[in-house]
């Protein structure tokens, strides 16, 4: 099997999996309980929190565990918008993950004003547009750090600079960036940052939100005192421990492994462009999370290519996994100006830690043939 859909989800690193299994058996205590089996779990959670904080250059007290990257995004946006009822404007971009776009739509239904910043053909947001969009009523700007479909890295530092002049808070959805590009919250200057474990070889069902110290925010999930009164509910303890472990592992592996993955991605990109005619690469050459490759195979239906690849045990995607079920064209691809028929011919290949040279070779030997065959059938 060649798995090239690491932006949808990643395989769990075996060491993470082992740690989770150990934890599930040995540590069932509720961290809110005061006796030893509860306190031990609390200690392990604190260690995991410290690890995540370190990776972001943050303080432990600024890290809040959630149930997913989506929950982190919802928490950040609703939490800020509800904490500033006197400000009713929210600014985001047109290529955000549905977790941000749909949250914005719901806010709009409840009477908030939403502005979507447009992007250029590479997916870079329009900073001039952003400057003009900010008003004294703007409570929050949410721009993703890197896009899940294109890999485009957004100019978060510049966004923060613009926002700070007008005293507006900034959230970034770093779900696709964390573990792949530097995510130091102080260098970026963001107030809130979302991340998710299952995109960094950790388990599904656990995410985190960084909240800068002193930021006024209301909880999304109310109840007990967990997570400093900001995210109620008995903690997904095994998930938290696993997230900590996953972060530790990618930090230990460091740039060396990322460079290896980038090299594979470059080879795959070059190979596809050389071997397949009429292919368009979407996204920028530079300022991209290199492991993300988006190609349009003009005149074709991406679904047909995807199925043909799947029959060879090569797994890729046609858009983000979250919109896979729907018939709509990707909002990201239409935002960068692709016509619907071109958007529908687009495949995303996203590489990860467990890919190797053979995987790339296999795709390069299978894909051109598949494309040729399919184009013949449709008479193109």
């Amino acid at each position: 099997m060649v798995y090239l859909d690491n932006n949808a989800t990643t395989p769990i690193e075996p060491a993470v999996s082992e740690k989770m299994c150990w934890f599930l058996r040995e540590h069932f205590g509720n961290p809110s309980s005061l006796y030893p089996i509860g306190r031990e779990v609390k200690k392990l959670i604190t260690e995991a929190r410290e690890t995540v904080a370190d990776a972001l250059g943050a303080m432990r007290s600024e890290i809040f565990f959630t149930g997913s990257g989506t929950e982190s995004d919802n928490f950040a946006i609703y939490g800020i918008m509800n904490a500033f009822p006197e400000k009713n404007e929210f600014i985001t971009s047109s290529i955000e993950h549905p977790a941000v776009i749909e949250t914005a739509s719901y806010l709009e239904k409840r009477g908030k004003k939403i502005t979507f910043i447009p992007v250029d053909q590479y997916g870079n947001i329009d900073l001039e547009f952003l400057k003009k969009a900010i008003s004294p009523k703007t409570a929050l700007i949410s721009i993703m750090y890197s896009n899940n479909e294109l890999g485009t890295i957004e100019p978060i530092k510049e966004v923060v600079k613009i926002a700070k002049e007008k005293e507006v808070l900034v959230h970034t959805d770093a779900v696709q960036a964390f573990g792949k590009i530097p995510c130091n919250v102080n260098k970026l200057g963001v107030d809130l940052l979302s991340l998710s474990a299952h995109k960094i070889y950790g388990p599904k069902g656990i995410g985190s939100l960084y909240i800068r110290k002193g930021t006024k925010i209301l909880p999304l999930i109310c109840g007990g005192h967990q997570e400093r009164n900001l995210r109620a509910g008995t903690e997904n303890t095994a998930g938290i421990i696993a997230l900590g472990e996953a972060v530790q592992i990618f930090q230990a592996k460091g740039d060396k492994d990322l460079k290896r993955i980038h090299k594979l991605a470059d080879r795959l990109k070059k190979g596809i462009e050389e071997r397949i005619p009429r292919v368009i690469f979407n996204g920028p050459e530079k300022n991209r999370v290199k492991s993300t490759l988006s190609f349009s195979f003009t005149g074709m239906e991406a679904d047909a290519i995807l199925l043909a690849l799947a029959s060879k045990e090569i797994y890729v995607s046609t858009g983000s996994a979250c919109s896979e079920d729907s018939e709509e064209v990707s909002h990201v691809l239409s935002s960068i100006g692709l016509k619907p028929e071109v958007a529908r011919s687009t495949l995303r290949l996203s590489l990860g830690r467990f890919n190797n040279d053979e995987d790339v070779s296999k795709v390069l030997s299978e894909l051109p043939e598949i494309i040729e065959k399919l184009r013949k059938i449709s008479g193109l």
Partner: protein
């Protein structure tokens, strides 16, 4: 920890080995995202739908009425806030009780800030809500009633069937927080006639980090988490597949075993209750004498502090609690006991023992042996000891 006598099952339960076993593959090779469309992903999707059927079966519901969440707390937030916002045009009044879990109480407080009006029904000395008081509280603006199935601290089982009947007659949605009863009591959503019901995996030998909300078909409710198309557009976010699979297995086991287990646990609980009453003076039981969860014993031991007793029990390898786990990190007196009419002083002297699947007679006898001398010692030092 092998010798630990664990009597805090209302706080959390150990994960059943049978549950861990079915979760393991989803930590390893079966990592697909169920929203993707290739085979690896279909496996995850199929496992998720099988788990949904198992949970549905436990509740006698249809599987498309089950939505997976990240916790019982999230289910409560989703139910209460989601029903409130979706029905706001109809009215802005909500009725709940003063002894709900904080997940419901704090959701209601949050809604008050958003312009909703909430009535908090009182309870009698056993912790039962008064149905007449409920009837009186209903107005034509009432859109939701949320009353827990059984209380986590004292175990009192509320008359949810009657409450559901009253809700139905008045065209009001009814939610019940059944976190403490699912897997312990027989539950049929049609029999109870509820519209919304919350449950949590880790209270019945499943993992932490997964819960579910039953939503009766046709119920008007807004989502709490927005984003992708997961859970039929009702709860966004990539699903916690191993957690969901674990919850499904826990539900399957519970469906088969809860009734026998209830008999066993009740017998042990009664043994503990009788043993302690016999050996310690000036104690009384909090909660309803009969309408009570089979494994819950909340006992008030006068003149001393629950925290002190817990510490000593802890030294003897016995884990119990002085309130709900969610408030045990704080030193406030239990809002449940205060609502039942206990003074702060007396409420602070309460202990909760909650029994479970793996407890034995030896466990119980150890508590009956260890606790009386602890009480005696503490009472000797107590500034408020009896005179």
């Amino acid at each position: 920890m092998d010798n630990l006598v664990y009597l805090d099952h209302n706080a959390t339960t150990p994960v059943d080995e049978r549950v861990i076993k079915v979760m393991l593959p989803y930590f390893g090779k079966k990592y697909g995202n169920p929203s993707s469309i290739y085979k690896l992903a279909n496996e995850s999707d199929k496992a998720k739908e099988e788990a949904r059927e198992k949970v549905a079966k436990l509740l006698h519901a249809n599987s498309n009425e089950i939505v997976f969440t990240g916790s019982g707390t999230e289910s409560d937030n989703y139910a209460v806030k989601g029903a409130a916002f979706a029905n706001r045009k109809k009215g802005n009044r909500i009725i709940t009780s003063s002894i709900e879990h904080h997940a419901v109480l704090n959701s209601c407080k949050w809604l008050e800030k958003q312009g909703f009006k909430v009535t908090y029904l009182g309870v009698d000395k056993h912790g039962l809500v008064n149905l007449d008081e409920l009837r009186d509280a209903i107005t034509d603006k009432t859109i939701l009633i949320s009353i827990m199935h059984a209380n986590n601290e004292v175990g009192t089982i509320e008359p949810v069937k009657e409450i559901a009947e009253i809700s139905r007659q008045n065209g009001i949605l009814f939610h019940t927080d059944a976190v403490q009863t699912v897997g312990k009591l027989p539950i049929g959503v049609d029999d109870l006639s509820v519209d919304l019901l919350s449950l949590s995996g880790h209270k019945f030998y499943g993992p932490k980090g997964v819960g579910a909300l039953y939503i009766r078909k046709g119920t008007r409710i807004d989502s709490l988490l927005h984003g992708g198309h997961h859970e039929s557009n009702r709860r966004a976010g990539t699903e916690n597949i191993p957690g969901i699979v674990g919850l499904g297995k826990a539900a399957e086991i519970a469906a088969k075993e809860f009734s026998e287990e209830g008999i066993k646990v009740r017998k042990l609980r009664d043994r503990l209750e009788n043993g302690l009453i016999k050996k310690i003076d000036d104690v009384f039981i909090n909660g309803h004498p009969d309408k009570r969860l089979p494994g819950t014993l909340n006992i008030c031991i006068k003149y001393i502090e629950g925290e002190g007793m817990l510490l000593h029990l802890d030294h003897n390898g016995i884990a119990a609690s002085s309130g709900s786990a969610c408030t045990s990190a704080s030193l406030q007196a239990s809002h449940v006991l205060i609502s039942m009419g206990l003074s702060h002083e007396v409420a602070h002297g309460s202990l909760r023992f909650s029994l479970g699947r793996n407890n034995t007679e030896q466990d119980i006898d150890k508590v009956i042996e260890v606790l009386p001398p602890i009480v005696e010692k503490l009472r000797e030092m107590s500034p408020i000891k009896k005179r």
